[in-house]
Structures are given as C-alpha cells and as structure tokens.
Amino acid sequence: MSQMNPVNIFLVEADELLAKIEEVVLDLQGREPQGEDINQLFRAFHTIKGSGAMFGFDAVADFTHHLENALDKVREGQLPLSEALLELILAAKDQIKALLDATKNEEPLPAKKSEDIIAAVSALCGGVSKESHPVSEAISEDARGAETTGSQKRWKVLFRPHARILDAGLNPALILRDLRELGECRIIAHSEDIPPLEAIKPEDCYLWWEVELLTEKNRNDIFDVFLFVDDRAEIVIEEVVPASATRIESSSTVTEKAPTDKEIISRPIKAETSAPTKASAKQDSGVRVPSEKLDLLVNLVGELVMSQSRLMQTASRFEAADLAVSVEAIERLVSELRDCVLGIRMMPIGATFSRFKRLVHDLSAELGKEVALITEGAETELDKTVLDKLGEPLVHLIRNSIDHGIESSGKRLESGKPQKGTIRLTAAHTGSNVVVTIQDDGRGIDPAVIRAKALEKHLISPDAILTDKETFNLIFLPGFSTAQQVTKVSGRGVGMDVVKRQIDALRGSVNICSKVGEGTTIYLTLPLTLAIIDGLLVEVGSDQYIVPMAVVMENVELHRDKRSLKNGRNVISVRGELIPYIRLREIFDAQEDEPEIERIVILRHEEQHIGLVVDKVLGSHQTVIQSLGRFYKDIALISGSTIMGDGRVALILDVPGLLNYVDQLNVTQACSR
C-alpha cells in the first residue's frame, strides 16, 4: 500500500481521531463535561464510522455505531456522561484500534471483545449509572441546541468552504442538498471571491453560501450535515429569534450575528465579505509528507552542504571577486536551506507527552494508586527521529516512577503528603539541547539501598567511596533492581539500562537527582536533531575525526616528557586531577610519526573525565552526519561520517563505544598477562 493510498489516509486520520477521543476522555477525569466535549467525542466516532464504512472497515463501522448512539443520547440529555461510560469509551477506543489493525493485516477480528463492550454500552443506555456526572441544564441545552421537538425554528447558516475542499473529494452541492432535506431553505450563493480568469485556480473553491433554514430539526442535526467538512469550511449556525430576526440580503453584505444563544463552529460571520480568513488559511496549509521523502530531502541537503563547502575551498584558490561573491551567495542560500529542511523535521514533543496520560491513567488504576500527570513545554520541538525514539525510554521511566516512586494513598497521607501523587513531565530548550524532566513527589531513592544492592551483586567493592550521583548511576547497570518483587509493571531490572542505552544512542545523557521522602527527578538531555552534529575536528596521522562537542570539556597540550603510566594506564595531571587518556593513534593504528607536542581532548563521560590524545585540534566543525551504511553500522567506535570540504572523509567518534572498547581491550590484555 502506498503512503498516499486513500485507505492509508483513512487509517492515519482514524489514529488521530482515536488519539483525540482518548485525550478528551482523560481530560474529563474529575471535571464537569461541557457540551463541546460531548460534541467532539460524537464527531470523532461519527467520522470513524462513516469513513470506516466507506473504506471497507465494516466491523469498525458496526462497532462504532453503538458508541455513536450512546453519545447521541448524551447529547440529547437522555444519558449522563458517567465514569462508567467514560471507561467504556476508552475501552472502545482501544477496540477500534484493534479492529483497524486486524482488518488491515487480514487477521481474525477480536469479535468477543466487541460484543462485551457493546453489551456494556447497551446496559448503560438502558438505565442510569449510579456514579454519574449530573448533566447540567447548561450542558444539555448547549448539546441539544434549541428546544427539542414540536416547533419549527429559523436558522441562519454560513457555509464558507476552504479553497482546497474540492481536493478532498468533498462536493458543496451535496451539502446544500442535505440542508434542503432538513426543511424550507433559502440559499444565496456568493461569487464575489471568484478572481478574474488570469488568477483563478480551477481546483479551488471560491463560492460560499448563506442559508436561511426553517426546520423542526435542532442545531446538532443541522451541524451533522457538515460533519465531514467542518474542518474544511467555515461554518456558523445561528438561531434567528423573532425579536432580532434578520434577513439574508441578496447583496454581499452579511448581517451581524443576533445576540441570542449561538454556537460558533469556527469563526463568527464577518461584516464584509473577504478572502478566506487567516484561521481557514492556516487550516489549509498542512501537507502530509511521508517520512521517507523528508529523510531523502535531508540527505540531499547534506550532500549540497558538503558540495558547497568543497566549492568554497576550490574558489578560494582563485582570486576572482565575481566568483567569490557568487560562492558567498550560494553559501548563504545553502545554509538557509539546511536550516529550513532541518526545521521541517522538528515536531513538538506534546504528541509524545499526550500518550502518557493514558499510561498514567491505566497504571494508576492497575496499581491502585492515585497519580496526576502534569506536562509543561509541550510546544518544545525536537527532531522527529529523536521524538520517535524517545517514547520507549519515557514509558520505562514513568512506569518506574508510578510503580516504585509514588506511594499508595494511605502511605502518602500518613507522611503528610497529598493523597494524589504527581508526576511532572517537562521539556525545555537549553542551547542546542532539549532537557526532558521526569519529576515525581514519591518516596525518593535511598542511596544506602542502592549501595547495598550493588554490593550484593558485586558491582562495587566494599571500600568504594561514591557520591550520591555516582550511587544513583549504578541503577543503569544491567540487571540492577532494588524492587522487592517483580511486578507486571517493572522490577526485572531490565528497564533502566535499556533507557541508558537508548538515550546514549540518541547522543543524549541521563542524570538522576533524588531525596528520600521527597521524590526523584530524572533529567534527559537530548540533541535537537540527529541530522547534524557540533563537533571538534581533530587530526590523527593523516586522518581526521570528529569528537561530539557535547562531551568535550577542553583540550590541553601533551608533551612527550609529560606522558606517564600509572597502574598500566596513561594518565595526565590537569590542575591537580589525574585524568586517564587514550591514544587514538594506537586505536586507529596511525603509521605517521607522532608530533613532539600532542593534544589531549578532555571529555566528560558519566561524571568522569577521560582524555583523547590526538596530533592536532583543528577547530569546531558543524556538519551533516552521513550514515556509514549497512556494512559498517555495527562498528562500535564510530557513529557516522562526514565529507570535508577537501573531499576527505572524517569519521565521527562514538565516545561511549570507544571507551567500552578500550575497557574491553584492557581487560583482555590484563587477562593475557
């Protein structure tokens, strides 16, 4: 199935609608539902049902019909939006997803689950739940619209499609036909937005309509006509009360809205006709682009950046002012293009955060704890690749926080804490990084317990002296878990070392701060993008390497007579601190003679300082990362490569991989002695 196949488009939109359903339901926990909440839920299920039927997902359409019916009853004020119904809606959302996946993959449908949910919904619809949010008069009035039956009312409807509505296969004529079926209609078409022949785009819709409708139907019935177009048109539905009744003029002047109860679907009627509003133009500006196309675009721009760099180097050899001006212009444009393309891949972290509301809800219920999730910085943007890979580590961390961090309600009250625990998930830019923070107000991590477990597992020696930070970092070792028992949620010690590896793979870092009795905060520091890297360009022999600037502290000279060995390791004293170092020319077997004075690049890795000895430090260098390709992708020392301006390849060092390699090498050498 191609990315742009209509069925694929439906599946993507269904996912979005299901996410919306979940978001609305979770948001309703503990607050009064408003009319718009119910309408949002109804519209989402109604759209899934209709589109599902259209694209052959009959099981989905049949199942969703029951939820739509139930929500229709809620809209009409016949059924309260109870806790039980909200839970059923969540279960239904999961079941629709399961049905979509099963249909798409041609697998057996989970029919029993559908039957169980339908039975539960039917039972609710047949009676009133004891735990109910009383639907206030305002809500039922708002959801129902005007008085329900028996009397005709006059409505004024503005239907102003967005320009690209025809692209979506939507036909305004059919909408008008459906409106006519509701009652007596007077429809006025407006053509003043149609541009002259030289400017008109035949694929766009410029016509819009004002409708005066006399009908017994209520506002929701009128709105239902626009259900499939409400995000592709400006729609206003107003009741015209007799005292301030207005007439739709045949000219292009639009009347002001009457001061009665009204529901604005998108924007109010403007006093003058004009081009589509900014809001509607904004809604038209989104385009779905397959990720593969974006990745290809980034790669091509990366090649362009490197070619431009080579062009600059070549041009510098000619003393031609005209050439220099053109090359500089190209450099500016390429730089702007690179920033623009990389910006396209940036997406707000809010979508990732939204997933966790459901996780917290389900886990809290499962563990019998009350936990609130607060998120901040949802608009903070990250590269899509980083975002895609960040979800799993965050799931681990939040699970651990709820399972091991947050205490039960009883214990919290005993210790003077609020009954409900809080997990705060925040994201913020700091320079060229994003820091994601997971903070809970639970029991905190006791360094003594960590140390005891580490000793038990022989991970540290009895006389090891560790700071609290170093002690907390022991948690990231494989197999480490202080949980008294393995729960379904966590406790196998598999999570934290996986988290560390996943964050390391993103060129990020993890830090833990904790205080017993008060809570734990975990900081994830991540690069904004994986596509480019700020690095330090170094030379070893005739080869060049890039050291990620994120781990570079400083670089110092290393004179031949200052080199010394301590306990078989190369070390250097820097301002009184003994720093072990690695000689890159030994790792990469450089054949050229070493210089009299070398440089040590001091790195920070897991709270320790390590030195990398190189021949020369050439300076900082920002570059687009090129993959090594499938034959070399598993080399632990190297994370990628880049092509320099002179055409040579520089390898990008994977610092954790390099240090692990050296450790392994030292162990092997020690064993062989």
Binding site: I187, S191, I194
Partner: protein, 104 residues
C-alpha cells in the same frame, strides 16, 4: 470524454463540447484567456457540454469578470442541462452568468 473546442477567431466565438471537469477546465482557462486578450468580444457556445461541475461554473464567472474589467463582451450561448443542474444545486442563478438567452 474529453473537452473539444472549436475556435472561430474571425467571428470571435469558441464552441466547447464534451466534458468540463477539472483537467478540462485548465485547458479551457488558457483558451478563454487567449481569446479575451486577442478579441474585443467572445461568444462561448456551451450547448454541447454533457458534463460539468462547480469548476466550470466558477470558470465562466471568472471569464465574465475578466471581460467586464477590460470592457469586453462575454456572452454564453446554448443550453445545457448539465450547467442548469449545477447552478440549481449550488443555488447560483443561471441568468447571472450574463446574457444567457431565454431560448437557445
């Protein structure tokens, strides 16, 4: 079925027949522009149009605006049920397309 056009520059008329959907509309837009640039008036005969939609209606209205802006005459002749239907569905008065004869 494609759009067929027959141009008569001397008599400043353009006859179209067949189907007038989106792809055909782009073709017709060019022809109409060319005609309105080259001629003082244009008579568009649409009696043989078998299928048309909102795209066609908007194009005719745009052509009328262009002609009016440059002081030229633009007349649509011929009757086609397809255009009458779409005007009725979209509640656009047929006579607003200007100079439509009462009878073909």
């Amino acid at each position: 079925m494609a759009l067929t056009t027959v141009e008569d520059l001397k008599n400043e008329s353009l006859t179209i027949s067949g189907s007038l959907g989106l792809s055909e509309a782009l073709q017709l837009q060019e022809k109409l522009l060319h005609f309105l640039q080259e001629s003082a008036s244009l008579t568009l005969e649409i009696g043989e149009i078998e299928v048309c939609d909102i795209t066609a209606l908007q194009l005719f209205i745009a052509a009328r605006k262009t002609a009016a802006a440059s002081g030229k005459t633009f007349v649509i002749t011929g009757k086609t049920a397809s255009l009458e239907d779409i005007c009725e569905q979209l509640s656009f008065p047929l006579r607003e397309l200007s100079h439509l004869p009462v009878e073909a």
